[in-house]
Structure formats: structure tokens, C-alpha cells
Symmetry: C2
Subunit: 213 residues, 2 copies
């Protein structure tokens, strides 16, 4: 195993706690974060199904936000909507992440394999202090997980065989797709995501720090 | 200026001193490094001109090496040729680079914008301790500098306007192309590359450490 690639939202960063805080700043009710996230898979699916050409996650987040605000009857001004979309570039890491990644980086290549685009992943890394070696993921493949293209494009970009790369996620479905694409798999539970592994993943670790050990 | 993107070969790393050392390990004469590098632009040009579809720099380096060894009448075995191509993933940084980049990273996004592919740039960063925020450059655009697509794809990937990104190089021709593509420019002289700026670049600095100041 030469590289570990990581899911971002939920696995590396606490999207939910962070977005509750960000949306509260604009006077939006606490359920806004969850309602917005409920738009995530349906909007990704518009691209995965081919109904929409590949657009980045800022575009899809904006479409989802407009739907949610419409449902809430909220006429938040345009400039605040744009600021809120960019709030997905500023999410807090889980407390074990920076130390765990720093340890893993000593012996492995580490990179995000997120549905976030390169700019979002870079800004998130700068904000959260994530010491990635490279930024991989959806934009390289112009596809969205769980499309196998995303996992394979990330391994290909590193010049590695699929089984030399391990996908790390707090989502069993992400790992099922990574395994089907030929990658190795590591499950890390998170309180807001999947809390139990549902398959015999190559590694199950309670935190990134344990993963490094 | 929000991001600085860097040429690799000659600007960030001492390709020449490193490759003289690498080739000497295989008993090759000292001129091998320079002869090999002379194949660099002609091989890139096969892609830039459209005569060859985009292939990564390992492929082009291998073609160039075979030509040089043929000229030298050297029948170096296949496995050593493969090792030598990968030696371009292990080049020493100039002495000011790691400290300068570490300082620049505190206030800016930093990334390579090299004709090296992602795997080569990642391996080089691991070997040389280069603290990049992302890996940009030729592979993102599937084109080779000085094609304007390479500079623009790097800025686009960061979600930045072209004039928010500064290209850093020890090659005046690289900076002419970056400026023509809309980027800002910084010249850092290197003893084996261009030693003097030939235009009014936005910044001229003797080292990466001075650039950070």
C-alpha cells in the first residue's frame, strides 16, 4: 500500500457541525444544513446519470441551496448565497485528522479523493491544515463518486496500481465502490456518518491516528 | 496575488547536478545528462505540434534516453533504462527552496506548474520535501508548456483569475508564455538556467527565500 486517499465530507471534516455554524451566521434555521446535504446525492446524480454535463461542486451546492431556501420561503440575497456556497471550502477537521495525516504522510502518499473540486479541496486544506501531497478526486475524472472512474483516475494520476491505493472513508457505500474499482479499503467511523463497518474492509480504525499505527 | 505556481526542472530542483549523479551510477559519461536534456524540447514538441497524442514525461524521457544511448553506442539493459527514467522523480532542490516554499505557503497557495506529470511531481515533492498545496501543471491540461493551456488550466483549477496567479521560473521563455496567458510573473535566476531576467517581470528575486520576503 503506497498511497491512502480520503473522502472529505464527513470522513476528514465535520461538514455538519461546520455548516450548522455557517448557516446560523445568516440567520438560517438549524435544519438548513441537513436539508442542504439532502440535496447532495440528487444533484450529483444529475451528473452521474448524464442529464447534466460535469460541473463542479460549487455549482451543484448552489442549485441545492436555492431549492432549500425556496422550500424554507427564505429570500436570502444573492451575495449571501454565494458566500454560503464557499463555506463548503471552510469546514473543521475531526480532532484526530491533522495529527493522523501528518503521521501517515511520513510513510505514504496522502491525498483527498473527494467529490469536491480541486479549488474546494485546496481551500479546505489551507483552512483545516490538511497536509496533502496532492489533490485528487472528482475533478480529475470529471465524474462523481461512486463512479469507478473517480477512484481509478486518482490511482492512475499517482502512477500506482489500484491495489497499491487505499480508500479511507466513513461511508460503507464509498468503500464498496472503491473495492469494486480494485482499490484497498479502510473504514473510520464518524458520529455523523456511518458508525459501523458493514463489510470486511482491509482496515477498520477508530481514528486517523489509529489508522497511522 | 493569491497563488504562486512554480517551474520544477531547473527552477525548483537542480535537474542537472542530480542527473549527472544518477547517470554516473550506471557508468554513463557525464555528458549524458546534457544530451538527454537536449532531447527534452524536441520530444515535448512532438506533443505540442499534435504529431503525438499527449503522453506523460516518463514516456518522453524514455524516448529521449533511447536516442541518447543509441548515439553513445551504449546498450544499457532495459531495467536500468526504466530506473533512469524514474530518476527524474528524485532530483535535489536548490538550497533555498524548502525554506522559501514553507514561508510562501503561510500566505499563498503554492503548487508546481511543471511539464512533469502528477506522479512525477508528487514523487519529486516526497523526495525533496516540497510542501506543495496541490499538484498542477501539464497533466491537468494534457498539454505542454509553453502552451497557454497549461498556465490557464492551473489557475482555473484553483478557481482563481489569471492575474491572481504568479508563475515563478528561472526561464525567461516560460515567463513570457505565462504573461501572454494572463498570469503574473516572477524570475529567480539559477546557475544552470537563465541567470538574468530579459524583461520587466513583476518580481525578480535572487532566491525563493527572497521571493517570500
Amino acid at each position: 500500500m503506497k498511497a491512502l486517499i480520503f473522502d472529505a465530507f464527513g470522513t476528514t471534516v465535520d461538514w455538519r457541525g461546520s455548516m450548522i455554524r455557517h448557516t446560523a451566521r445568516f440567520g438560517l434555521p438549524e435544519e438548513t444544513a441537513d436539508l442542504w446535504r439532502e440535496q447532495y446525492q440528487p444533484q450529483l446524480e444529475t451528473v452521474r446519470s448524464g442529464r447534466r454535463p460535469w460541473v463542479n461542486l460549487d455549482v451543484l451546492h448552489r442549485i441545492g441551496l436555492d431549492i432549500v431556501l425556496d422550500e424554507l420561503g427564505n429570500d436570502l440575497p444573492e451575495r449571501y448565497r454565494r458566500t454560503l456556497v464557499k463555506a463548503w471550502h471552510r469546514l473543521d477537521p475531526w480532532p484526530d485528522v491533522v495529527e493522523g495525516l501528518t503521521q501517515l504522510k511520513e510513510t505514504h502518499i496522502i491525498a483527498p479523493c473527494s467529490n469536491g473540486h480541486i479549488a474546494q479541496s485546496v481551500n479546505l486544506a489551507k483552512y483545516a491544515g490538511l497536509p496533502w501531497d496532492a489533490i485528487l478526486g472528482a475533478e480529475l475524472a470529471r465524474a462523481y463518486k461512486p463512479d469507478p472512474l473517480v477512484y481509478r483516475a486518482s490511482a492512475d494520476a499517482l502512477g500506482l496500481d489500484y491495489d497499491e491505493v487505499c480508500m479511507v472513508a466513513a461511508h460503507n457505500d464509498d468503500l464498496h465502490a472503491a473495492r469494486a474499482a480494485g482499490l484497498r479499503t479502510a473504514f473510520v467511523p464518524r458520529p455523523t456518518e456511518d458508525t459501523e463497518p458493514t463489510s470486511d474492509w482491509d482496515i477498520v480504525a477508530p481514528t486517523f491516528k489509529e489508522l497511522a499505527r
